[in-house]
């Protein structure tokens, strides 16, 4: 029979392991609730994008950067939960308000950002298109793109675990 001391040691060990696991899980969840705003690694001129500028790039109020190079924002499909979370976090509008906004802009000759079908397609397009800017979950970021901003979502807006994350080390 193990001594009382040994039993306490085992219980303590289990608690430590469980606590560490919980912290890891929370960290992973926190990681999954962030959105990386990416540009091509070849766009050396763009290191960061402030929240106000990011919003205006996606609302097509700002078309070129301070050096005169055109921005090409790309979106995920409207039904994407990541897009909905991005719209709330970066633009501050629900999809319904955004739809009204784009109807009014359409009348003024301005069209919404182009839509790409998946996060992998966003990374691929941004990597090879100077001026392109997109958003993906952090696990999709590759060496060909770099994150100019990390958006942290409030707990209530957390995304479900990214089942489609590519099988490669998270950067």
């Amino acid at each position: 029979m193990p001594s009382t001391f040994t039993r306490w040691l085992v219980v303590l060990g289990v608690l430590v392991v469980a606590g560490t696991g919980a912290r890891c899980a929370m960290a992973a969840q926190a990681g999954e609730s962030r959105i990386a705003v990416i540009v091509s690694s070849r766009d050396h001129g763009v290191q960061t994008v402030d929240p106000g500028t990011l919003r205006n790039i996606y609302l097509k109020k700002v078309f070129v950067d301070p050096h005169g190079h055109a921005y090409i924002p790309v979106n995920l499909p409207p039904e994407s939960r990541l897009r909905q979370a991005f719209s709330r976090a970066a633009i501050g509008m629900s999809e319904r308000r955004l739809q009204n906004y784009w109807n009014q802009q359409y009348f003024q000759g301005v069209s919404p950002p182009f839509v790409l079908g998946s996060e992998a397609a966003v990374v691929e397009f941004v990597a090879k298109t100077p001026g392109a800017i997109g958003y993906v979950e952090p696990c999709f970021v590759t060496a060909d793109v770099h994150a100019v901003q990390m958006l942290t979502l409030p707990a209530a807006a957390s995304l479900p675990p990214a089942a489609a994350c590519p099988r490669r080390p998270v950067r």
Partner: protein
């Protein structure tokens, strides 16, 4: 345009501009032409049809209006059929045109007619994105005074009728150059428009800038710019839920040939249960013989269940020719089953309004396509 030589010149100008526009639309796209990665998006009502290889978007809007007004025969009108063409050329240039077929068919209890049909180039301009927050525009564009004039298409506004304040005292279009954009000010956006108009030299289409456009309006007063300079600022606050705007234009009209100064203010507030908006203008003439013209409206929109909206508007407008106060009260209901589509029914009544916007019932169906 009774003079045959002037008419010939008008059509020749239209032809030249039309040819230039056609060439610009059909030539291959420039350096930043659509990459193969840019796949055509499925068509969506209210966003036009996009052709990626040409970087061309084709769309527009159409609306049918019905009106039954005091001392006027009830009628149905194919009011607007507008075609938008928008094309990116490279990464910095964009062309946009809106060609409108107006009053294509009017049907009343006695006959159907197309005699009032008219075709006009409402807008035709080129935009050049110079640097962050600054875009240059050249051509014919909407005059930046208030928000209604900039977004006036039937499917995008809440009522069939248009407030007098948004048409009565200035030209709805300008031809010339404009500088516009958005800058960040104290964590909020400030939109600005600064323009110079020389319609006397540049206007290439017959103008339709009637001062009072509502059904039953007996006034034939026109507001065609000769020259104008002005601008507008619009400051957005509270995550775009509140906007405050101000505009100023100094201009000369063709007839009556006068110099005017116009000052305008506008606001919009969007809450969960109600949306308020309003505009006000005040126009003075250099000549003391011409009375001041001023007015404004306040409009409230309340969302109801099943895509319905209740709308109420109150407007007071003091016209200069004839010099009198007009009061209008408008109550309506708007059904928006999906984005880009609107069905409206409204009742309008007022005081001293018979000549500009008579009492009665108006309805419309509008689609942005």
């Amino acid at each position: 345009m009774s003079n045959p030589r002037r008419r010939y010149r008008h059509y020749a100008d239209l032809l030249v501009w039309g040819l230039a526009a056609v060439l610009a639309w059909i030539l291959p796209a420039g350096a930043a032409a659509a990459d193969e990665s840019w796949q055509a998006q499925p068509y969506q009502l209210g966003q036009g049809l996009y052709f990626p290889q040409q970087s061309l978007r084709v769309g527009g809007y159409a609306d049918i209006h019905f009106y039954s007004l005091d001392k006027h025969r009830a009628a149905l009108s194919v009011e607007d059929l507008s075609l938008f063409l928008s094309r990116d050329i490279g990464t910095h240039w964009k062309l946009f045109s809106e060609t409108e077929l107006g009053d294509a068919l009017v049907i009343d209890s006695q006959h159907a007619t197309t005699k009032d049909a008219n075709i006009d180039v409402e807008r035709l301009y080129a935009d050049y994105h110079t640097r962050s927050g600054i875009t240059l525009r050249f051509g014919k564009f909407l005059t930046p005074v208030g928000q209604w004039n900039l977004v006036h298409a039937d499917p995008l506004v809440w009522t069939v009728s248009r407030p007098l304040t948004t048409t009565g005292s200035f030209s709805r279009h300008a031809s010339g150059a404009m500088l516009y954009g958005t800058v960040n000010l104290r964590q909020n956006d400030l939109d600005y428009w600064l323009f110079a108009d020389d319609s006397k030299a540049l206007a290439f289409t017959r103008s339709h800038n009637l001062a009072f456009t509502d059904y039953g309006a007996s006034s034939t007063l026109r507001n065609d710019f000769q020259h104008a300079v002005g601008g507008q600022f619009l400051y957005h606050m509270l995550d775009d839920r509140l906007s405050l705007g101000a505009s100023y234009v100094r201009y000369a009209l063709k007839t009556p040939r006068q110099q005017y100064r116009l000052t305008g203010i506008d606001f919009g507030w969007s809450g969960r249960r109600v949306e308020f908006s309003g505009e006000g203008i005040w126009r003075t003439a250099d000549s003391p013989q011409v009375p001041d013209e001023y007015g404004g409206y306040v409009q409230a929109v309340v969302p109801l269940p099943r895509h319905l909206y209740a709308v109420a508007r109150y407007e007071r407008y003091r016209n200069s020719l004839p010099s009198q106060w007009v009061t209008l009260r408008t109550f309506g209901i708007d059904y928006r089953p999906e984005s880009g589509m609107s069905l409206k029914l409204e009742y309008r009544e007022g005081n001293n309004n018979a000549a500009l916007a008579p009492n009665g019932v108006l309805a419309s169906i509008g689609v942005l396509f």
